[in-house]
Amino acid sequence: MTAFIIRRLMQSVVVVLVMSGIVFFGVFLVGDPIHMLVNPQMDQEDIDKAIRALGLDRPVWEQYFHFLANAVRGDLGTSFLFGEPALKIILQRMPATLELAFAALFMAIVLGIPLGLYAGLKPDSFFSKAIMTGSIVGFSLPTFWVGIMLIMIFAVVLGWLPSTGRGETATVLGITSSLFTQNGLAHILLPALNLALLKISLVIRLTRAGAREAIHQDYIKFARAKGLSSRRVIGVHLLKNIMIPVVTVLGLEFGNLVAFSVVTETIFAWPGMGKLLIQSIQNLDRPVIVAYLVIIVLLFVVINLVVDILYSLLDPRVRLGEKG
């Protein structure tokens, strides 16, 4: 298993390198950030000074190698807009996004799997049909619209929940998070729900399909014949066998939740990385965009690794790292 992990990590270095190159040159092609950041009332001389200070006058190749040399030392560039190290700015906002992603993932698992199981095991009941229709609605509605509707209904009209922002944080066991305060939970409920809606729908459909297929397998019949309780048959044997596609999808979706929750974070003014990303794109803040994408690539690599390890735990037939 260790050899497998090490080999994977080395492959990921290549991926990260290629990725950083694509992003770096891509952003350069779009435009020059100087016009977004510079006060148009400045004299040309001062504009030139600012260009030199930000390193934008040197050829692209030189800027890229400069970036790589620094990256190896942990310096992923300094934001054009904020003037602070890009890595620091991203890491400052990471806890908020991670909270939101975990909350949404939790909802997806806790709501999606039981509902999907029910729909799969009792496909003809009215409730199952309602669940399936609900899941279609869940992935058809645009996130932007759902977010605004949630705010209007729960915050403006009913006044039950706050409409915007992150709540108060508390530190438990060294981790500072808004999930540990009541105020924080009230603030996270709507954005997490907004994010989770799509995932819940996906999980419901996957779980249902898996359940419908697995219920007819021989080993289920055998387990029932053996006299095992329904709970054990479904909860242990059935569930474990349909989990592989669900784990795969959830893994990828978790990566998406962390990296690209741009719309939800913008609507709910959640101080996370997604909002930072869209702001940096609009301002052509290249160091932040590149640093962000490098971090995201690393994140996806780690997630894929974790998913593969989970496979081997779920299904003993899977051996990691095929030999010859």
């Binding site: 016009h35 600012a50 702001q279």
Partner: protein, 527 residues
């Protein structure tokens, strides 16, 4: 048994503590854009300047119409041709209790142009000025040539202390360590991307604010900002979207404040090139640049129905413009009015200029930089097409648009032929528009830095130069007004309208609307 009772009692006590919260005078404000840093010299950007005005003061301040009033300087005057004397206010203390002296001003002017990594510094406001502390409460600022706009420039620089601010790096300001000012509030915490918290400075030299605690949150999405106000999560918001204004006017829980901004939305044309890439004959053949003919420009201005733009596109939240700044500003001409809509007159002028059948034109503009910019471009394109100039539009993300508009052409020259842009005079008076926009582009002297149409008129240049060297206020205003009149008569730019900014607050609060678009807690009064 007693243990359980103790636990219950403790829980009840804790619960009651949580309930009896914000009775202190607390103000929560929802911003449209968040500041990029807490360093007052780092970035000359409206959100930064607005938010940091709570912590730092300037020698000279601008009121809600950008007229100058005393700040940390109690008075100022020109003591000779090239030197201005500023007499500082006595008894002012920094937030850490130490006294404010002239040395702090010197330190400020040394630091302001030299902040590392600054994307848009205050260098141009500080350039060429030598600052000397004559005694603890007197400062002399001298320039190599006579400089009547000294007070205006000085009103853009926030003062930091020698002890903390001068040596502080931008990170130190963001963490709060160096953010020691003399202003009405102290910085409590800056959480980037989330919120900024201020507490009242009870030792402030000026009028004490009624707010003990002020929290700013950036809520970029318009609908979410309005929802936050309606839900009561914030007490006031800036940038109410034009589409929501009618609805909020009818809402009994909300009161609106509106004020005309000093930002003019206008159109610039290519005055320079003999052939311009985005104007062609109706069949696509190349033609001589029609925009160089004043009659064509005047026709275009006449073809634009400004009243319709204000009423339909801006939903009444704008004022038709005839020049660079609205009425009442320094250097504005009282003879200029917004061009009247005259479709027939426009067609006649086009025919006179040799274009009876018009021509093809492309209008370039940003999307999302100015209020309703895309809709304005669409409306104007249709209006021009009706007059015979078949216009299509291309809107670009602001970053891309401004780069190409300024340097996208060959050899770093402006690329487009006809653009939609906006301009807001930072100094609050006409020279802050005339000098950068219609004075001839000159890299060395710094005139015409945003003259993307490359308009060049010797008379305007001469008047501008003279005005900037005239100390007498009345004479200077007249010179600027005359320069404006000549430029507008020559249709150097085609002004469209002045933006009106709208703030929304919960019933019981009023905000004194500002033309520089700042949102200040000091301007919020509870009645």
């Amino acid at each position: 048994m007693t243990r359980a009772r103790t636990v219950v009692a403790a829980l009840l006590l804790a619960a009651s503590g949580m309930v009896g919260a914000a009775t202190a005078a607390e103000l929560k404000i929802g911003l449209e854009a968040e500041p990029s840093a807490m360093d007052p010299h780092y970035h000359n950007l409206t959100p930064n300047n607005s938010v940091l005005s709570h912590v730092f003061d300037r020698l000279v301040e601008q009121d809600e119409k950008q007229r100058l009033k005393p700040g940390l300087a109690a008075s100022w005057k020109a003591i000779d041709e090239k030197t201005w004397e500023f007499k500082l206010r006595a008894g002012v203390k920094w937030h850490d209790g130490t006294p404010f002296t002239a040395d702090d001003v010197v330190a400020t002017f040394e630091r302001a142009p030299n902040v590392p990594n600054s994307p848009s510094s205050f260098a141009s406001a500080v350039k060429g000025k030598t600052v000397k502390a004559v005694d603890d409460l007197t400062v002399h600022i001298s320039t190599p040539e006579v400089y009547p706009n000294m007070a205006n420039d000085v009103s853009t620089i926030m003062i930091v202390s020698r002890a903390h601010g001068a040596t502080g790096k931008t990170e130190d300001y963001n963490s709060g360590k160096a953010a020691i000012g003399t202003g009405p509030f102290k910085l409590v915490k800056f959480t980037p991307g989330d919120r900024i918290e201020f507490a009242r400075n009870d030792a402030y030299w000026g009028a004490k604010s009624q707010w003990e605690k002020v929290t700013f949150r950036a809520i970029k999405a318009g609908p979410a900002r309005v929802a936050a106000l309606l839900a009561g999560d914030v007490d006031m918001i800036e940038g109410v979207p034009t589409t929501d204004i009618e609805r909020l006017k009818k809402e009994p829980k909300i009161s609106l404040s509106q004020g005309v901004s000093n930002r003019v939305v206008y159109f610039f044309v290519d005055h320079e090139r003999e052939e311009t890439p985005f104007a062609t004959a109706k069949d696509g053949a190349a033609i001589k640049n029609p925009l160089k003919d004043k009659r064509v420009r005047l026709a275009m201005s006449k073809a634009i129905n400004r009243d319709a733009i204000v009423a339909r596109v801006m939903e009444g939240v704008a004022i038709p413009a005839g020049q660079f700044l609205p009425d009442g500003y320094f250097g504005v001409s009282d003879k200029l009015k917004a061009e009247k809509f005259d479709l027939e007159g426009a067609k006649k002028l086009l025919a006179e200029a040799g274009f009876p059948n018009g021509f093809k034109l492309t209008l370039h503009g940003p999307n999302g930089r100015y209020i309703n910019d895309v809709k304005i471009a669409e409306a104007v394109a249709q209006m021009l097409t009706r007059a015979g100039i078949e216009t299509k539009i291309e809107t670009l993300p602001p970053a891309v648009f401004f780069r190409r508009a300024s340097t996208g052409g060959p050899e770093g020259t402006p690329e487009f032929s006809f653009i939609l842009v906006g301009w807001s005079s930072g100094t609050g008076e006409a020279s802050g528009s005339v000098k950068p926009l219609v004075a001839s582009y000159d890299k060395v002297t710094g005139y015409g830095t945003s003259n993307r149409g490359r308009y060049a008129n010797k008379e305007v240049d001469a008047l501008t130069k003279e005005a900037l060297a005239t100390v007498d206020d009345k004479k200077r205003a007249d010179l600027l007004a005359k320069a404006t009149e000549i430029a507008i008569a020559d249709v150097a730019i085609i002004p469209s309208h002045f933006q009106v900014n709208t703030w929304g607050a919960r019933k019981g609060l009023t905000y004194e609307a500002r033309s520089d678009e700042y949102t200040l807690a000091m301007g919020v009064k509870a009645n």
